[in-house]
């Protein structure tokens, strides 16, 4: 279908072409710049700790360990098993603590409360504490991200 009149003038076409290609040119530099400025989050795949540091833990007590740049919390349960959480509140990233008398995890920033299994019970936290899977391999306590083989 042939048009009677052009949709745009030669000038507009040329300007559009120039602007478009300049934009694409600039944008292609944007990707590496953004990649540089926003580096990927560095969380470890797994953390290996000497089991000897944790084998004498009393039930209902906790110990802090390093999970990358975040704190992890290892809890010895009443049945002498262990559970590991990322000790970061799911509300606004403050570090949580464990109160053994109340059997609750507590975030002081905005009064967030979690039960002894990390499930959020009171206050602003929207989700339970993140669990980490752990296994005892020989002399080591191996803590992994949940779901990682």
């Amino acid at each position: 279908m042939k048009l009677k009149h052009s949709l745009f003038t030669r000038r507009q076409f040329l300007n559009g072409l120039l602007g478009g290609w300049l934009g694409a040119f600039a944008a292609s530099f944007l990707y590496p710049v953004l990649k540089f400025i926003f580096p990927p989050t560095r969380e470890p795949e797994e953390v290996i700790l000497p089991f000897v540091d944790f084998q004498d833990m009393e039930p209902n007590t906790v110990k802090i360990f390093a999970w990358g740049s975040k704190p992890g919390i290892l809890k010895r349960n009443d049945d002498r098993s262990y559970t590991a959480f990322v000790a970061v509140c799911t509300h606004l990233d403050c570090n949580v603590t464990y109160l053994p008398d109340q059997r609750k995890f507590y975030c002081a920033c905005h009064e967030g409360w979690y039960d002894e299994n990390g499930v959020h019970t009171a206050g602003p936290p929207p989700r339970p504490l993140r669990r980490l899977s752990l296994s005892i391999e020989g002399e080591n306590l191996v803590i992994k991200r949940e779901g990682v083989e």
Binding site: R10, R11, L14, L18, W21, L22, A24, F25, S28
Partner: protein, 99 residues
């Protein structure tokens, strides 16, 4: 300056810039040679940067190919724009002269 002269000037500029690169590389190579001549283990402690693996390399070469393609297209479009603007300038100049 005629179009031909401009093209030659542009070509000379690119050659000049690359010759300058060669000058610098020779310098870098010289420093490296002298270094490996002295202590061998120090050479291994040097961090030589570059793309890691085939995926990054390919991505980088594709990007550079795209870069130069875009530059060629842009230069072409800009030359059209320049011709247009120069033509308008002549027209305005001539109409002013008439006045």
């Amino acid at each position: 300056m005629t179009a031909k002269k401009k093209l030659i000037a542009l070509f000379v500029l690119i050659v000049f810039l690359h010759s300058f690169v060669l000058f610098k590389i020779n310098f870098a190579q010289q420093v490296e040679q002298e270094k490996t001549g002295t202590i061998q283990e120090e050479a291994s402690e040097k961090i030589v940067p570059g793309p890691q693996g085939i995926k990054e390399s390919t991505g980088l070469y594709v990007f550079i190919a795209w870069l130069w393609l875009a530059i060629l297209v842009l230069v072409y479009v800009l030359r059209l724009k320049i011709k247009e603007e120069d033509r308008l300038l002549e027209m305005r100049f001539l109409s002013e002269k008439k006045k």
